[in-house]
Amino acid sequence: MTEEKWTVKFVIFRKKGDQPPRYDSYVLEVDPDEYVIDGVERIWAFHDRSLIFAHACHHSTCGACGMRVNDVEKLTCITKIRDVTTNGGSLKIEPLRNFPIIGDLVVDMTRMYAAMDRVHAKAVHPLSAAPLEGEGIRPPKDVPRNNGDEYLRLADCIECGLCISACPVAGTAENYLGPAVLAAAQLQGLKHNPDLLDLVDCADGLWRCHSAYECTAVCPSNVDPGWRIMDLRRQVVGERIKRWFVKA
């Protein structure tokens, strides 16, 4: 961070109950290396106490603070102001798409949580099932075991819903499971979880995907759901062929 100061206009989506939505503007002096959520929280603290927004951990482990920043889905706690606007520029902040709006910048993500629940998405993985491919300084397969037990690690997917908001078909297919959910199914693998097959192999499952790859473009947490959906298709086709032979 520097002593640098920028003037940025925050244009914030506002909606209360059944009232029609509107946009409110607030001009803030910011440090360009601050994160977008810091600006939003300051608007609440010093300008308008009626504003509501979701957030919790402020370091990308909880996935609560997803918003649309200048039309792109961002996890606002790790998005530096410098990376999304300029000095004297503006930041349009809107709630995520494809979820119902509770008010202002807050959406109801039940759709995603319920679907994650249906595929029994794991919140905590053994390190080997969710490896840190290419990331850590030592390759994970060399990591010795913890007194014989496997290490456990919180899943990469933080259930932020950015992928569902960025997905162009999630808006017209309310029951579409969505990228994060299909990615969670892929991670578990159909071979070991045959009950997932019928759940994902249906019109509102992985065949709804129309390959825009926007999920992967916005995912802040290394999940790459676009690739996982495609890989799940491969698994489904393989599994169906196998069953066909087994039955015959």
């Binding site: 109950g17 603290a45 504003l51 370091h59 609560a64 509770i102 008010g103 919140a123 840190l132 990469d156």
Partner: protein
Amino acid sequence: MSKLHAIVIGAGFTGVAIAHDLALRGFAVTVVERGPIVNGTSGRTHGLLHSGARYAVNDQESAIECIQENQILRLIVPDAIEPNGGLFIGITDEDMAYREKFIEGCAACRIPIKELTPQEALRLEPNLNPKLQTAFTVPDGTFDPLRLALAFAASAKSNGAVFHLYTDVVDLLTDGQGNIVGVKAWDRATDKRFEIRGDIVVNATGAWVGHITSMAGISVPITPTPGVMVAYDQRLTQRAINLLNKPGDGDIVLPQRRMMVVGTTSFTIEDPDYVPVYEDHVQLMIERGSNLIPALRQTKERGAYMATRPLIGASAPGRSISRTFKAYDHKETDNVEGLVTITGGKATTLRLMAEKTVDLICKKFNLNIPCTTAETPLLSYRKFYVN
């Protein structure tokens, strides 16, 4: 007999754990929180599931509470904890001078530790400072703050608790004689104002408890004491890494998902509503953190944030039910019936704080219902959203 109705203000760790305990013991519970779940300090904690070893020398009461609660939470919270343990590492001779006291303290508090040679430690965690002289394993863990709280909230909800999120308590309702009989609330999602009446109001607003008590004309002298934490973009260890020395700034580095998080600092402020993240604190974190794990220096910053401890002055009036956190029955301290305030403690001890607070509330109503939260597994955090 209809259920007693408890109103809990604040859905931080303290509030959700109390809501869960109250609901289990048969209360009708309404939680009023001005933001989302863990809007305040709780959301932004460092995320260390303390083994207690950090306090084993200077604050053994805390240390014992931590190790006991640590073991309970591992069992009852299924899906918010990385239970991989931790290490205390000694690097300088000054650190080594702390070694004896540390071993004694941990033994006194029954915290299982094991000393490793530097080679053994480096084999387990190759990214540690290679200059380390000794290392101890401890049963630390890491947690996801939102999901930890949601697990309690989900369980409370399944037992009938009602959550009003994005709803400020703007005033307390009194019976005309100064006793508290409910709250005035402002739902900011719909911009509606309403009143909630209850048999008891529990003020679990952390660094903000003084704002709520002042609505009843009671002052609780709070000094908000924030600390800064910085997250880095790579997972460099599997365990939480602590400095073997008395607690200080930037002496804990812990892994979480794909990150490392360094914390923390401590300074005092006036108003906890908004605290900026100061640049010099961020610098301090990278310096102290890279003393433990040198590779942090080559790692990109991912996020920087702060949270505020509610420090209550030693001169604060009233009797406290525990030294490690404060709970007041304002009937006893200020002759105001219907209001209980609880603050302080740690994330790791949230269940215990709730147990003691709800014990106190039950006693007020002459109820003899035992606490069962230690034996009751919590629901998955997702059940907060999915009924």
